[in-house]
């Protein structure tokens, strides 16, 4: 299996990287970890003339906390770095847990959180939990910087709001009032399997009242899907087992799954019901797990 030929470009700054992307337009692609892109190129599904490597842009790596802003995750942070990061483990262990559901150890050393988002596969494991936590994407282009909610980042399978000269620089999980969050994934094996369905939720509990609820479904629509009606079942209500049961049913009805090799639409709907209940219960009872 051969990677098709391309010209390799190694910018030394984010500005230079954006300029190169702007200059070469649709002929260029960003190379981060390469765990998606190199596979696609080997399979003949991508044939860029230029690869713009982010390898020297250390400012895109790592996790930090800025008071008043929140937790900032560089787009080049690998999944294993997310899993091991002390700030995330303390504040949002649910994000670490979502990263730990992915692939296998070696791939988690290569694949990055930014690549997982920009790749925009419906089954990607990081978008649902980031959306549930209200995360924002900091995007840098030749014209400067802009911020987009991760919820608004995806346009369709493989398509995002990024312009040709733009790079996803950082993800920001803002300081928030949520009391719990969780991501549950069902794959056909425990490791090395894409999500048949993935459900993320976050809750803001005041006693036993759910002041706010977010429920995000992965792998059941062209992009990560907000289960708005299921959220409304719980929002502002006193939480009970019956209500959680009902939210699961409502999420299953509003989901838009398809049949594919990993599961039928009907099976996926059943999974949405079960996983929504599990995710909500964990978020309500155990916090950010």
């Amino acid at each position: 299996m051969i990677v098709p030929q391309f010209e390799y470009l190694v910018p030394q700054s984010l500005q230079e990287a954006c300029a190169l992307l702007g200059q070469h337009g649709s002929k260029a692609k960003v190379l981060s970890g390469g765990s998606d892109l190199i596979v696609k190129m080997k399979n003949g599904l991508a044939k860029p003339d230029y690869l713009v490597s982010l390898k020297n842009l250390d400012e895109l790596k790592g996790v930090r906390y800025e008071a008043g802003t929140g937790v900032i995750i560089g787009s080049r942070t690998t999944h294993n770095q997310v899993i091991a990061n002390p700030i995330l483990r303390e504040k949002y262990p649910s994000v670490c847990a979502a990263a730990a559901t992915m692939a296998a150890y070696q791939i988690r050393n290569i694949g990055t959180i930014g690549g997982n988002l920009v790749n925009a596969v419906p089954s990607a494991d990081m978008p649902p939990i980031l959306i549930a936590l209200g995360a924002q994407a900091r995007i840098v282009g030749t014209a400067g910087e802009r911020v987009v909610r991760v919820e608004d980042f995806f346009l369709g399978p493989g398509r995002t709001v990024l312009g040709q000269d733009e790079i996803l620089a950082e993800l920001v999980i803002p300081d928030q009032a949520t009391t719990g969050s969780n991501y549950v994934k069902f794959g056909l094996r425990r490791a090395g399997a894409l999500a048949v369905v993935g459900v993320a939720s976050s809750v803001t509990m005041a006693g036993d009242v759910a002041k706010d609820v977010r429920i995000i479904l992965g792998a059941v629509a062209p992009i990560p899907m907000v289960a708005r009606e299921a959220e409304n079942v719980l929002r502002g209500k006193k939480v009970s087992d019956d209500l959680i049961q009902h939210a699961g049913k409502v999420a299953a009805v509003e989901s838009k799954p398809i049949n594919d090799i990993r599961g039928s639409a009907e099976y996926r709907r059943n999974l949405v019901d079960v996983l929504t209940r599990r995710s909500l219960k964990a978020a309500i009872e155990k916090g950010h797990v």
Binding site: M1, I2, V3, P4, Q5, F6, E7, Y8, V10, L31, G33, G34, S35, I38, V39, K42, N43, L51, S53, K55, N80, A103, A104, Y105, Q106, I107, N109, I110, R190, A191, G192
Partner: protein, 164 residues
């Protein structure tokens, strides 16, 4: 990194420290780390299986962390250090994980073994006393088609015991 034109395809100079020795090669940008190690540097202990990140036969340690060398471009690894299966022994004495694979019959055809052993070694480096579950998770990205996993897991656990 210096680049220069040779024929029509640009080549790049890549410097890698492999098992402690510095190596330099002139490669095309589309060369994988796996092909550089096997074809240019003759570290053929690193195996080529699926070439898509699924099987783990190509596992090497990059700066101490196991990765699939089939998915990494050689140019991206420039300046870094790699450990292959050939680099695990210390002065001719096998690594305890290698030793345990031999003693526990954890090798049949041997095609998965270099990757399995490197994943096992990397696990013991970060977690000297793993549980069985942790061992299984650490080798989840290494597929074996003949031995099965029971003896492999036993061998890594035995190497952990030998550590203490």
């Amino acid at each position: 990194m210096v680049t220069e034109a040779k024929t029509s395809v640009k080549r790049h100079i890549v410097t890698l420290t492999v098992n402690g020795d510095e190596h330099v090669a002139l490669v095309k940008a589309n060369t994988t780390l796996l092909d550089l190690l096997r074809e240019e540097f003759d570290y053929t202990g690193t195996k080529k299986g699926c070439e898509l990140g699924d099987c783990g036969a190509c596992t090497v340690m990059l700066d101490g962390e196991p990765v699939n060398s089939c998915l990494i471009l050689a140019v991206e690894a420039d300046g870094h250090s790699v450990t292959t299966i050939e680099g695990l022994d210390q002065n001719g004495k096998l690594d305890p994980v290698q030793e345990a694979f031999v003693n526990h019959g954890a090798i049949q055809c041997g095609y998965c073994s270099p990757g399995m052993i490197l994943s096992g070694r990397a696990l013991l480096n970060r977690n000297p006393h793993p549980t069985e579950r942790e061992v299984r998770e650490a080798i989840a990205g290494n597929l074996c088609r003949c031995t099965g996993y029971v003896r492999i897991v036993e061998a890594i656990l035995a190497a952990a015991d030998a550590n203490s």
